[in-house]
């Protein structure tokens, strides 16, 4: 053991003669990159653990025989490292020669050409002739959903396998090892792939490409417009890649979406659901007049969270001007939650972030179908599971077996019993804590036996969490969107705030829709609509729609400038990828006397008392990541201090949810009517339930059924999914157009299912 030097926290090393202080534990490559020193790599991907397949990153270390792999090897104190020499150049050149063996010479038609790592490094290492060959094999192209895999172009860097496992957690891709015959295999090509396209994004060559994009453009002809995905509250960074439509059509078109894949992720909705723009609009002054008239007589302005912060502020101004109520059904619950939460926590917002989830070793996910609702949250759970062996406790009425590889304990509770279950959790987590008398009284009054019986969560299940928490250090509590439209959301919010306050759990609340958080902070919302309703991306007596199906057209998210507020409490900018020819909300506002020159003039006016900053849109930080991977986009909200002032109500009696229940949930890659407008994701929604559900509802697979939801009739084809249990069926609403935004009640709904025909009719 004497050979081991004592490890220090801070070490000093020398790279290419430059003395550098660094933290022990970092790899040589990490330290080099942080200090602007270039080491070539083919398989290195910053966001995952080192893969170490390409061997390009080898360096020389003084006193060490042979070449050392810089991506994986930690730097030790005093190491003197050389990143380039003739010998290293020759070895790297030789590796490139090997990579180039039999690589098809089809750069002329390859999608990757111009942004291909193989192409770049082949040139960099001056490989201009092929010394060796090997017998070629037949390697047919495979199609995996939206993705096409060409094994003959694959260099087996394994980045795709890594992200599928370590980032997405779906373990779909594997490397089939077999030397020269090695290939990437999709273990479940027909099902279960979350179609996120992460594998494709990180592919350094043309092996994994979008089937849709294939052969449609050269990479260098596309203009990259940096923006954010506004399809859910994660607000992931993306680039819309734009070019004219064709030789005879100069209209710009989005050809594909890419992202800063080195550091961040994107799900299928963002990557493939990009062409939801409103093309039909033109400047129709008659319609503008109508819209102005409608707003003037509006009693209610109803809108959805598919709106920028600036537009939300604009609507507030209009509402004030015309004396209308503001109603936003997919944010109202969050706004109620936040008020109640703040009254206990003394701050406006939760402290946790997605990154906190990824570094946790205990995660409780409560009240949401995470894999579908919030793919990015699920990804960060996957990272924690893979890297930290995190205990993942999944509390929900529906056990999601598709993520069993990430979850270590399912705790299933009855639909509707969220308040009771959280109260049990609070009691368990604060047992040895010094509590305020008010809170102590609340806990003492809890009838745990009753709560347990009604929620079907046994006391043993809660006790068993002790085992999960044993010797663990970093805790996250994720709150999903089931609770926002729960009647008891306020008391639920207070209980959650208490858990956050008295335990070391970091709290992460998932805003239920794109900009719900922004809307909740900016607008004073009311619950009920009344009188004449103007709908802004929501149904109304007069409807303004980005889908192009209303009385007045609005631009879609890929056609506007503005900001949205994300789950990470970050205000991130959107940029215009495609032109919009019609009038916009600001034109109406101007006519009503509350507009500004440009919508983005409002960026600096966003309410400072809610944590926004007074920064001009054009002065927001660059819409990008730093070379070290920091997310520089926009800014983080200040977490404003709020007065603590609350009363806890007794836990309400639990309403029983018997019989057939539907749960409103959209597939992860098609979360809303906008993605459902995109040509790749457009699909037909079906009601999916277990066999038990079919029996209870007296229906069969393939039947056409009808039921009522929030006063609206819904017709669906029913399909049985044998992996589901219980009498809860999954009901997507992405195909309902703007009326999807009418659905404003608790996500679990007791319904009567009526068979109205068979699927073919």
């Amino acid at each position: 053991m004497s050979a081991v030097k004592e490890t220090k926290k801070t070490i000093t090393i020398t790279i290419d003669g430059k003395e550098i202080q660094a933290e022990y534990g970092k790899s040589i490559l990490q330290i080099a990159r942080e200090n602007g020193i270039y080491i070539p790599t083919m398989c290195y991907l910053t966001k995952v653990e080192p893969i170490a397949s390409c061997r390009m990153c080898v360096v020389e270390v003084e006193g060490v025989d042979g070449f050392v792999l810089s991506c994986q090897e930690k730097a030790v104190d005093g190491a003197k490292i050389t990143t380039n020499s003739q010998a290293l150049f020759r070895e790297r050149q030789n590796i490139m020669k090997l990579y180039d063996v039999n690589h098809p010479l089809e750069c002329g038609v390859c999608d990757k050409s111009g942004e291909c790592d193989l192409q770049n490094k082949t040139l960099e290492f001056e490989v201009d002739e092929q010394d060796f060959t090997a017998k070629e094999m037949h390697r047919p192209v495979q199609n995996w959903g939206f993705i096409s895999y060409d094994p003959s172009l694959c260099i087996l860097c394994e980045k795709c396998v890594r992200v599928c496992n370590e980032i997405v957690g779906s373990e779909q891709l594997q490397i089939s090892v077999g030397g020269y015959k090695s290939t990437i295999v999709n273990t479940k090509p027909d099902n279960d792939c979350v179609s996120c396209g992460e594998c494709m994004a990180v592919c350094p060559v043309g092996a994994l490409v979008s089937s849709d994009f294939k052969y449609s453009s050269n990479a260098w002809e596309l203009e990259k417009i940096p923006s954010a995905c506004a399809m859910c509250s994660a607000g992931c960074q993306l680039y819309y890649e734009v070019k004219h439509t064709s030789i005879d059509n100069p209209e710009p078109k989005i050809y594909r979406v890419t992202n800063e894949f080195e550091f961040s992720n994107l799900c299928g909705a963002g990557r493939f659901g990009f062409d939801f723009e409103n093309k039909t609009a033109f400047k129709d002054s008659r319609k503008l007049e109508e819209a102005i008239k409608a707003f003037k007589k509006a009693d209610t302005i109803a809108f959805s969270s598919y709106i920028s912060n600036e537009e939300a502020l604009l609507l507030s101004k209009i509402a004030k001007k015309v004396g209308a109520k503001l109603v936003c059904s997919d944010s109202y619950g969050l706004s109620r939650f936040l008020k109640a939460y703040s009254s206990v926590s003394g701050k406006m917002l939760w402290d946790g972030t997605l990154e906190d989830i990824a570094t946790s070793d205990v995660i409780i996910s409560f009240g949401g179908k995470i894999a579908q609702d919030a793919p990015m949250v699920k990804n960060h759970i996957a990272m924690a599971s893979k890297r930290n062996k995190a205990r993942v406790i999944y509390m929900h009425p529906i056990e999601d077996y598709t993520i069993q590889n990430l979850v270590t304990r399912f705790i299933k509770y009855e639909a509707g019993s969220e308040e009771g279950v959280l109260a049990m959790l609070l009691e368990f987590l604060t047992r040895d804590k010094e509590l305020d008398s008010k809170i102590k009284a609340f806990i003492d009054e809890l009838d745990i036996g009753y709560l347990s019986a009604e929620s079907s969560v046994s006391e043993e299940e809660i006790e068993s969490l002790k085992l999960d928490f044993w010797k663990r250090k970093r805790f996250s509590l994720i709150i999903g969107s089931d609770i926002f439209n729960h009647e008891r959301v306020e008391n639920i919010a207070k209980i959650i705030a208490l858990i956050e306050k008295y335990t070391n759990f970091k709290l992460i609340v998932i805003p239920p829709a794109s900009n719900s958080l922004g809307v909740s902070l900016i607008c004073d919302l009311e619950k009920e609509k009344e009188g004449f309703v103007v709908g802004v991306n929501a149904p109304g007596d007069f409807t303004l729609s980005s889908l192009g199906d209303g009385d007045f057209d609005l631009p879609a998210f890929n056609q506007i400038e503005g900001t949205i507020t994300t789950i990470n409490k970050q205000v991130v900018p959107l940029n215009v990828a495609l032109p919009y020819d019609g009038y916009i909300l600001n034109d109406i506002a101007k006519e009503l006397g509350v507009g500004s020159d440009l919508t983005i003039d409002l960026t600096k006016e966003l309410p400072k008392e809610k944590g926004f900053e007074s920064i001009e849109f054009d002065e927001l930080s660059p819409n990008a990541f730093s070379v070290h991977g920091e997310d520089l986009r926009g800014y983080k909200l200040r977490n404003v201090t709020v007065e603590v002032n609350f009363e806890l109500e007794e836990v309400a009696d639990l309403e029983s949810f018997d019989g057939t229940i539907v749960y409103c949930v959209n597939p992860s890659q098609n979360p809303n009517p906008f993605t459902n407008k995109s040509h790749l994701l457009q699909s037909k929604a079906t009601l999916i339930g277990s066999k038990q559900f079919a029996t209870a509802a007296k229906i069969n697979d393939g039947d056409r059924v009808e039921f009522e939801m929030d006063g609206k009739k819904v017709t669906r084809v029913f399909r049985i999914d044998t992996s589901l249990k219980g009498t809860i069926a999954l009901n997507p609403i992405f195909d309902m157009g703007l009326s999807a935004f009418w659905v404003s009640s608790y996500r679990f709904k007791k319904v009567n299912i009526n068979k109205v025909g068979s699927g073919d009719e």
């Binding site: 090997l98 063996v101 496992n165 370590e166 030397g179």
Partner: protein, 670 residues
């Protein structure tokens, strides 16, 4: 010592070609000159060079086949650019030369590709494969030149020489169960924990168990020790097993279990401990019907009733056991003590019998007045049965009833005695003393540093260089005190092993309530039918040849402690795995045979794979081994909570990244 024509093994250069026999130099290594009975081998080629035994060897073909083997075996690797493409090119170019189509440029390219592979391959397999090929190209240049100049096939290009190869690694070779260690570590590094577990289970079904309580002989053969410290091989095994258990996933079998054969063939296994379970698992995977007969009410053998809960939580061991019993052809009969009559029946009913009943008789310490009837004299096996059956299964009564507030003396020095003293502490003994004949260093070597250290922390008093001379009892035959002799180590003037010599006049007495002998255990051979005349070893265990594990009676096999004597779990697993393989063929053809893989395994063991003097190239030295968190004394002393918390995720990845993947290929031409 081996008689060879030529050898470059491990740096030696022996060239006896064209020399008269009497001038031949012998190699200092034990090469497999005879591949199998009456089957001489012609050459041996591997990671460290090449040895030729037959003067007529075709060196070009040998090199080509070695490269081909690398291709074939690259499922063990094939995951880095130099290895993957380099290996293919190596083979293509060599084969081109061997079939008479090569040119001298090909030789240059071969040398260049070899260099790249040797410098930058991910694992040792890619780094070492070119070495013997380059040796052959250098020393048998004339054969290569001839193929090129005359554009003719090499002289044995189409001969029927067999080339038999095997992938190994120093750690795999040292592991009695030959677990594919680099592969399961790679699974952890790749965060593919299921794949990691599958790699382990190829030869080791008890992944939870051997991820916790294995004495890890592999770590003594870890090449990383040549650089800094050995990898924490054992603890990395836990990751895969914990992943499966924590997520309640379907079993990760190393391969899809074959459907039940239902062909009337069946195997009886006597004893449901590690050896019995292992054999049942591998026979069950083949779809062969097996019946395990276990004397105790529970499966698991000594790991269940010997190893304490704090070291091997039964919930985890039960997972390993469930893996085995989940197979449809594995049948279990607990509470069934097999005796000679039953064995006679088995002989008629079953196609093979595997004896795996361990060693469950506690040996005496050979003190004066030593009798089992003494009150307070308690054999280690019986005492641990009592402790474990109570704590793990709530069978029987707690041992604390006897041991609370008592003074307990244990005589031992091995793992069992450590279990005894640490359990006695947890059962509330007032004072616990371990008497050991030799010194601290030896006890650590016989157990582990952790085990010894933790026992000391828990308050066990170790008295070294001492042995009980006499047991003193009162009129009720109740143990009162022990008379103990003191010894010292006297160096042998002739340079031999130092001798323990009694120090006259240094005797002392210990007053105590319990004496627990834990010096060793022996097999209960009374169950064997006398007329079987089963041959025994000199230390009264069942004799086999240590390769196929068949006893002197055909169809009766033996594995684990009853064959070897009290030894490790991993040893029992290794033996039973081999026995299961032999049995799976024996029940069909009545022959005792080994696979090529197994024959090579034994050859390599003899040759030795690990070279502790090798200088490591291409790795950063000075990266310390990760150490898992252990419960503090106060957290563990009054309970049976698992003491070792295992590596955290972060630690495990860091530790896995230290593994140098020392895979090698060895090949024999026969």
């Amino acid at each position: 010592m081996s008689k060879v024509v030529f050898s470059t093994w491990r740096g030696e250069l022996i060239d006896n070609r064209n020399k008269p026999q009497e001038e031949w130099v012998e190699s200092s290594f034990s090469f497999p000159l005879e591949y199998n009975k009456d089957k001489p081998s012609r050459a041996f080629i591997g990671w460290d060079g090449v040895a030729i035994f037959d003067e007529n060897i075709d060196a070009v073909k040998l090199a080509t086949e070695y490269a081909a083997t690398y291709q074939k075996y690259s499922e063990a690797c094939g995951r880095c650019a130099p290895g993957r493409w380099g290996g293919r090119i190596l083979f293509d170019l060599l084969d081109k030369i061997a079939r008479g189509e090569g040119n001298f440029e090909d030789i240059e390219h071969l040398q260049e590709v070899s260099r790249t592979m040797m410098e930058t391959s991910k694992c040792e397999i890619g780094r070492t494969v070119p070495k013997p090929i380059l040796d052959l190209m250098e020393h048998y240049k004339e054969q290569f030149d001839a193929c090129i100049l005359e554009q003719k096939k090499s002289h044995e290009y189409e001969s029927n020489t067999s080339y038999i190869a095997k992938v190994t690694a120093p750690c795999m070779d040292m592991c009695p169960a030959h677990v594919d260690i680099p592969s399961y570590i790679e699974g952890v590094r790749d965060l593919e924990f299921g794949a990691s577990l599958q790699a382990t289970r190829q030869t080791m079904p008890l992944a939870h168990t051997c991820g916790r309580v294995c004495p890890h002989p592999c770590e003594d053969a870890c090449r990383r020790a040549n650089l800094d410290e050995p990898i924490a091989i054992m603890e990395l095994k836990r990751l895969g097993a914990d992943y499966e258990t924590d997520h309640n996933l379907a079993w990760f079998h190393p391969k899809e279990p074959k459907p039940p054969r239902n062909d009337g063939k069946k195997v009886a296994i006597v004893g449901g401990g590690p050896a019995g379970l292992t054999a049942a698992y591998y026979l069950g995977l083949e779809g062969i019907e097996v019946h395990i007969f276990e004397e105790l009410p529970v499966l698991g053998g000594e790991v269940a009733v010997g190893v304490p809960q704090y070291r091997m939580p039964i919930e985890k061991y039960n997972k390993d056991i469930e893996l085995v019993t989940s197979l449809p052809t594995v049948h279990v009969h607990t509470n069934t003590r097999v005796d000679a009559n039953m064995l006679r029946e088995f002989e008629k009913e079953y196609d093979a019998i595997l004896l795996a009943f361990g060693t469950r008789l506690s040996k005496k310490i050979r003190a004066k007045n030593e009798r089992e009837e003494i009150k307070g004299y308690w054999g280690a096996i019986a005492m641990l049965d009592r402790v474990n059956l109570w704590h793990k299964y709530k069978i029987g009564e707690p041992a604390s009833k006897e041991l609370k507030d008592k003074v307990v003396v244990c005589v031992g020095g091995g793992f069992t005695s450590m279990d005894v003293v640490r359990c006695a502490v947890r059962e509330g003994a007032k004072k616990v003393i371990m008497l050991y004949r030799r010194d601290e260093k030896t006890i650590i070597r016989n157990t582990s540093w952790e085990e010894y250290h933790e026992a000391v922390e828990e308050g066990v008093e170790f008295i070294f260089y001492s042995a009980v001379e006499e047991i003193i009892t009162d009129e009720n035959d109740q143990l009162k005190k022990l008379k103990v002799n003191r010894f010292e180590l006297v160096p042998d003037p002739n340079g031999g092993r130092p001798q323990l010599v009694k120090i006259e006049g240094a005797d002392f007495e210990i007053e105590c309530d319990f004496l627990i002998p834990a010096v060793s255990q022996s097999a209960d051979l009374s169950i064997l039918p006398e007329e079987w005349n089963i041959e025994l070893t000199s230390w009264n265990t069942i004799l086999t040849n240590g390769r196929d594990y068949m006893s002197s009676k055909p169809g009766v096999f033996a594995a684990g402690d009853c064959e070897y004597g009290p030894m490790t779990i991993v040893n029992a697993v290794g033996q039973a795995k081999r026995a299961a393989s032999v049995i799976s063929r024996y029940i069909y053809d009545g022959k005792v045979s080994l696979t090529d893989e197994e024959i090579m395994e034994d050859h390599l063991k003899k040759l030795g794979v690990y070279n502790k003097n090798e200088k490591i190239k291409g790795w950063m030295p000075g990266i310390p081994r990760e150490v898992s968190e252990k419960l503090s004394v106060s957290e563990r002393i009054t309970n049976n909570k698992e003491v070792n918390l295992g590596l955290t995720g972060e630690q495990a990845i860091a530790e896995a990244e230290r593994c140098m993947r020392c895979y090698y290929i060895a090949m024999v031409a026969v």
